[in-house]
Amino acid sequence: MSRRWSAVAWGAGGVLVLVALWEAYKFLGPADGVVLGTTRVLPRTTDLAMPHVWDMLGRLAEPVTRSPSAPPLWGAILLAALTTLGIAAAGWLVGVVVGVGLALVMQRWRLAEWGLLPWIVLSQTVPLIAFAPVVKSWGSRVEIGAFEWQDWMSVALIASYLAFFPIAVGALKGLQSPDRIHAELMQTYAAGYWATLRKLRFPAAVPYLLPALRLGAANAVVGAVVAEVSTGLQGGIGRLLIQFAGQASGDPAKAWGPIFGAVVLGLVAAGSVALLGAILKNYRRTEETA
């Protein structure tokens, strides 16, 4: 317990050092930054480019606009972050299903692994942002019975596209991880594919799956935010990001609010998966002893 507190204290120290660096540079650095040749290698220090840390934090407490109905900035950001979190979670779940499904197929048939894995790796070089409008447009065509495609689903779909990759790779590794001795033990028990999967492969995959799920969660958040920007979905943090960036000339501190929101959002998403890891700690015993 005390170790955890000391980690928190050190971490807080690290953040403080960062803040101190920011302010020190802002105080000492030239207004137009440090330019080497034609490239500016250190940033400008104007209030427009680098607001004071206290201005950024202070701005969070003020209302979004002067309009009487405006909520405080932090409230608007919190609400948007929660919205995005929900979308990212949906995308993450889809990513888990697809990723684990692909991993199962690839683990079962080597030919599938050879045929699919290179494409799965390649898929990560595809700039998804280019597809956001296409996904939205395709999605809007889907209407099955009472089910109607919502715009947020397009965003979730894009989030899942980013999330599935680490999960597929991690799950494949995990499913392939059982020692030969364990696989053969199951064989001597004349255990079938599903029994082996349930009793051996899935439990053995947990230590590989957890970091993959965490990475997937972080990726889902990135995907959700970028896709919100890209499809213009309202209500999420991505939307606030462009909206407040648009107001940054007159109100530079405001643009940082959604960035802090995105950081918190990512940490919460990754942290929730860490919680999952705590629940499954018995499946991670090899990790701890190794």
Binding site: R44, T46, D47, L48, A49, V64, T65, R66, S67, S69, I129, A132, P133, K136, S137, S140, R141, E228, V229, S230, T231, G232, Q234, R239, L240, I242, Q243, F244, A245, G246, Q247, A248, S249, G250, D251, P252, K254, A255
Partner: protein, 358 residues
């Protein structure tokens, strides 16, 4: 739009409402005040419509949403849609809401950039996403091609210009120009003044192009009678909305804020007011497409070449690309209501901008 079979777009306000989807070009803001006013004031319902206004933003291309059948009408700039039409979209401009271009190119007062000809060798800001064609068209008229300048993509604010990364920034009269005037001049501690800037208005150049127009699906317009009726009803409500916005700019700006605009009240009011200026006066009646302006836009679009050598369009758009038929019908029907459809009595108001637009 296929939901009702009453076929009656008329006055049955409390009967079945015809659902209509309208795709905006950007986030909810004063630029679209007339549509939000029409919704809020119940004009759509009066016409028997239930209109869902879909905001855009990011990479969503309104005319594509329309061409794909996702929506029934879309607001988009004419040059951008001309490009889509050449790519195979089948769309028709049914009402030219903005009668003039609201695009400016802003430079510092001491920069020496006073006309398009001064662009040569300068860093010229543009948002991309098809907003750059006016620049290229204006430059083409001056004999400059896209490679003689450096095009910098502006992001969502004016910082790049304020910090000198861009020599001349693209700005809409109703938005980015106001952003400049909402920013504190670090030298004086006061907000920037209009006198701090040189402003080139594309409306006064050969590059001027028609902007916010209402687009409809050409095929449905030709063959679907129900859609035709809906179109007239829709246009009537929209016109009423814009008339309301012209007469009640404060209320209109409050309506857009309530509809989800993220701007502060002063900026919003500025935007409604400036938008009104682009619409009114409208000698032939609001929404009527001026053939000369249309032809000028087409000529500009044909002339413009971007820096990767791509043309916006390479041939004249088809005749179906625009028609005054429906807006004329709508205006005729509204004539009786005694509305000011030409903006004869329109008087812009004075708006004081606050720091940060808040």
């Amino acid at each position: 739009s296929g939901g009702t079979d009453s076929g009656d777009g008329g006055d049955t306000a409390d009967g079945d409402l015809t659902p209509v989807k309208l795709q905006l070009q950007w986030l909810p803001q004063g630029q679209f005040a007339g549509y939000f006013a029409a919704a809020e004031q119940g004009y759509f319902e009066e016409e028997g419509l239930e209109v869902e206004i879909i905001p855009s933003g990011g990479d969503i291309v309104p005319q594509d949403a329309l061409a794909n059948g996702d929506v029934d009408y879309a607001i988009a700039w004419v040059p951008k849609v001309l490009g889509s039409i050449e790519q195979g979209a089948n769309l028709t401009d049914i009402a030219q809401i903005f009668q003039r271009s609201g695009t400016l190119q802003v430079s510092w007062a001491d920069s020496g950039i006073e006309s398009i000809a001064d662009f040569e060798g300068k860093k010229i800001g543009s948002w991309g996403f098809g907003n750059e064609w006016e620049i290229f068209a204006a430059m083409a008229d001056e004999g400059l091609d896209a490679t003689t300048v450096q095009i910098i993509t502006q992001d969502f604010n004016m910082n790049a210009f304020l910090q000198g990364d861009i020599d001349a920034a693209q700005a809409m009269t109703y938005n980015e120009y106001a952003q400049l005037l909402e920013t504190v001049n670090p030298d004086t501690g006061e907000l920037y003044e209009p006198s701090d800037f040189n402003v080139i208005s594309y409306e006064e150049t050969a590059g001027a192009m028609l902007q916010d127009a209402i687009w409809a699906d050409t095929e449905r317009l030709e063959s679907d009678e129900e859609y035709q009726e809906t179109t007239v009803a829709f246009l009537k409500a929209v016109v009423k909305g814009w008339v309301y916005a012209a007469e009640n700019p404060e209320e209109a700006s409050e309506i857009t804020i309530a509809a989800g605009s993220g701007w502060g009240p002063s900026h919003e009011l500025w935007m409604v007011n400036e938008t009104n200026k682009l619409i009114w006066p409208s000698e032939a009646g609001i929404g009527i497409i001026d053939e000369a302006a249309w032809d000028k836009t087409v000529a500009g679009a044909l002339a413009a070449v971007n820096e990767s050598g791509a043309h916006l369009i390479t041939e004249e758009p088809p005749a179906s690309a625009w028609t005054n038929e429906w807006i004329q019908q709508a205006l005729d029907e509204l004539e009786a209501d005694g509305l000011d459809l030409t903006g004869e009595g329109f008087e812009p108001i004075d708006v004081t901008l606050e720091e940060g637009g808040n």
